[in-house]
Assembly symmetry: D2
Homo-oligomer: 209 residues x 4
């Protein structure tokens, strides 16, 4: 399968006013499957629409959506793919989203209820014969990272929100952190070709191994 | 009725990447009525939730939502008030929202379909005995401006998106524009105490009359 | 001369907190001349640096900087081109920048004082045999628009801040405004191939003539 | 001395386009001393100006500027206080700012050269009899955190960029990280009344001890 980064994620967080942080959106595809690896947030939905139009893809043609975890900035746009099966770690079922509040909680439920089919995975699973799942619960209890085998970019590490930005990545590689999470990231870096940051661009790992 | 500005609007527009522009949110209230004058966009929904909690208000207690026009950055959060009647100019019914696209169009329909009751108004109407409606179709064909009689702030001019920011307001007041829209704004300024900008703060008009 | 858009401008304006609006940055070049058409604001200075590095250009090689007007979001980065002559409308000399305040005013003076050479132009001038100047004082008294003859994009209209975004452009083309400024823009659109928006992307005008 | 938060910091980081992240700005003052604890970045300089005007303070009255580390989003506005002594960890002298590039490096030098007086501190120092210095080099080699004794807010922990946001703080308190940095933060939390986040709001620590 080939990988295309449709939009690089970013962070906009203004204390007490605006939260418009949005995740990187990637498409993994071959003849049969069109998989969105994290569909991203509301603030990018118009750009996602343009991007799909440029690629000649209809929303109904997306067969699957894969999530690192269930936060709105990664999962909101899953609502727009009516035929997709949503893949997520089983722990997302253990959280009670109502307690997030009358508005935020309702938003989470609306996203979840929009999913026609949801399929859970767990640590060690391999999805579509290409996506290896690692349970990395340091950001949310259902959080997973992925290593994806691609035709055009080699082995690609989707760390998820355990490494959001270039700055966080540099801190880990300069050995400023020595927790389990940092050790896991360094180990993956040694075995992959690219790192897709969830709220920043793509890092070529050949300079880091 | 008293007026409280819950959140001042802003603009975040990054070409080809992010659109996170959001409108000012105001509450107009007395014992019986709790009216949200423009509920604003998704990127402020968590802050709206906090604000209502601080005021001891439940979403079910909001009786009405009034919109200057039907763009998502003003109307998105109307979804979260299950008991509210939504008030909007009749022209919103003349637009076909599907043509906005598979994703954006679907978003518009979801907002519209969430409205339990919608009531249309037209130029010259007076809502709740306090909100005078002016049809000002220079930004969208259903666009209206309001002059609101309040107990605590006198006559308040909600121009809507025909004057989004302080910079646009200054341009109009310095006579750099002389179209119908600019003339309308200058006339209202002469008769009101405050101007609530949709994507900026509140302007005290006593310095401008 | 050829034109390259180095970065598309955007708007980030959070009432009472952050102003991070930044202009589009363009490079106009041939063998002898490397002209920056609006160098943009502080928030893009690191990206401008990367872009120049990609193009193999040193800051000392930039021969000229041309400004539509003297606001920081367009002019700040002019500080970083030590060999460039800055071109701007003569009216910029009639403003007293100190009155902008102890901090903002000082910032304006620092930018202005960094200019090794400044050359003023006026309505009707033609710069470098390619850039026709139109004095368009509807946003600032020194504000000018440009029509640039290019090898690769035909006639390109740099409106400046009299048309910042696609939304403002559509409002003008849908005849919602009929002031002098709107009429000027419509006239230029009829005679040009592309419009470079200062705080948005590039518009192909062939669909608008 | 009393503490006032002049502006809460935030994060705006759009991959390959805009970086407008800005730090929290605080004022620590008594009759004799007016100390800015991190003056913040360019994008907030106009708001800092307004805030000082509201407080009736001139830029010349600021006696001191204290920095957690030397990154522009924390230090840029130090340029605007001509009488202030700048206090920073001695390691800032060990970095070569030119290597940051022709533009970014020049910006760093301009800030540094604007300082009339700079005084270095080191781990364990106590500034103004009120600010205890902790060397916390997990974000930059000169990075320090502070515990400040205040009249109006008790003991206030300025962590600096080792804890930028509420999300990062929660991750540390939920024991998701167990590195030296996380342990240091948890220890300080046990002994302080408030935590000032550099890119977010203020946390009341009584709920966390």
């Amino acid at each position: 399968m080939k990988l295309e980064i449709l939009l690089e994620g970013g962070i906009i967080n203004i204390s007490s006013v605006v939260k418009a942080t949005y995740s990187t959106i990637a498409l993994l595809y071959d003849k049969d499957k069109k998989i969105i690896l994290e569909p991203g947030d509301y603030v990018t939905h118009a750009f996602l629409e343009n991007k799909l139009k440029e690629l000649g893809l209809k929303v109904e043609e997306i067969t699957d959506v894969v999530l690192t975890h269930f936060h709105l900035d990664h999962a909101y746009n899953s609502m727009f793919f009516p035929e997709a099966t949503v893949h997520i770690h089983e722990n997302y079922l253990k959280k009670s989203y109502e307690k997030f509040g009358m508005i935020v909680g309702k938003q989470y439920l609306a996203v979840m209820n929009s999913w026609k089919k949801a399929r859970t995975f767990k640590d060690g699973d391999i999805l579509f014969d290409k996506i290896k799942v690692y349970h990395t619960p340091w950001h949310a209890k259902e959080h997973c990272s992925f290593v994806v085998e691609t035709e055009n970019m080699g082995k690609v590490f989707f760390a998820g929100d355990i490494v959001m930005t270039r700055v966080e990545f540099y801190d880990i590689m300069r050995m400023l952190r020595n927790d389990d999470c940092a050790r896991f990231v360094r180990e993956m870096v040694d075995n992959c070709d690219y790192l897709v940051l969830t709220h920043d661009g793509v890092v070529d790992l050949k300079n880091w191994r």
